[in-house]
Symmetry: C2
């Protein structure tokens, strides 16, 4: 019988993801060590490699959680009514707020890179696509003329534009907007894009 075994393995994996999530939130991706994770999770060093493929996959699992939280937050906090443009502005605000509140975890989602050959698993890429769909919906209100593929492509671009502003601000680059004006700049950008996109 492997039902109980499978359950224990899943429990261990969860506590490892918990530990990694907490450590990333505290110190960022750069300071993440396998030994710290297993110590926090209360298991042996080698156990990490029984539960998951390695540190990279564990980070992907943390990033998946972060994306899910972002999706649920964006979904929950953005009012369903309002015109397409208003909804888009609200999405931008929520996105910026999430990044400010979860700087290290949010940063990990977009800065972690797998070794040379490998690419993210399909289910993780699908999670990214879920974000894009949330942008595509209000965009469809504004541009009912666009077909599905073009709509999604344009939604990706709008997302990436806002993402760039938030990233350079959070990340502390001098090119980025100072953090206290991040919200107004994101709002100005989304506003300008919505006005110009028609």
């Amino acid at each position: 019988m492997s039902a109980k075994t499978e359950a224990k393995r899943a429990a261990l994996r969860d506590s490892l993801v918990d530990a990694a999530e907490g450590l990333i939130a505290q110190n960022g991706l750069r300071g993440l060590k396998a030994r710290d994770i297993t110590a926090r999770a209360g298991c042996a060093l080698g156990a990490l490699y029984n539960a998951v493929d390695g540190l990279d996959q564990l980070i992907v699992l943390v990033n998946s959680r972060t994306l899910t939280r972002l999706g649920e937050k964006a979904l929950a906090e953005v009012p369903a009514d309002g015109t397409g443009a208003d909804k888009m502005r609200a999405l931008g605000r929520v996105y910026a707020a999430f990044a400010v509140e979860n700087p290290y975890l949010w940063s990990a989602v977009f800065t972690h890179r797998l070794p040379e050959g490998q690419s993210s698993p399909d289910w993780h890429r699908a999670e990214f696509m879920g974000l894009i769909e949330q942008v595509a919906a209000p965009l469809a209100d504004l541009r009912p003329d666009l077909d599905g593929a073009t709509l999604r492509l344009r939604a990706q671009t709008l997302f990436a534009a806002v993402h760039g502003v938030v990233q350079l601000s959070i990340h502390g680059f001098e090119v980025g907007a100072p953090r206290d004006v991040l919200f107004s700049e994101v709002d100005a950008l989304v506003g300008a894009m919505m006005r110009g996109i028609r």
Copy 2:
């Protein structure tokens, strides 16, 4: 006499930056090893730490070269005439083209992070600011009403927006635009922003 000594040290530093630049261009920042750099530069491992503070500072020196090349390319290839909007579109094209042609070096500029406490030297941050000035100039044509500080802030935001689209595309994220449509998407974004910004 330390003139000749200083010259030799500078020559060594240059060849180390050469080696690191070549290796980053080939394999990216993740695969960069101190031993590979010194082997390529033809010096001992320890020599790296005589010439520069460490691997991090060496990467900053490479990034500085990349920023300079980007600035010179953007300056040289963008025609001086044309309206503000046209110039901005040209800047976007040149920026995207540079990133596509130098994916690893360009990526290193924006993904390399110093250890927890440290921040980039002032002269390096000034190089970033030089990029922003190139965006601020055509923006001033379109928005002569903005004062210097607001103009620069808005220029940062426009830069970051384009940067985000290019980064998510180059970086291979599924959220980014497929690379073959990167140029048209950047152009559409800049166009929409220029139309909406007035």
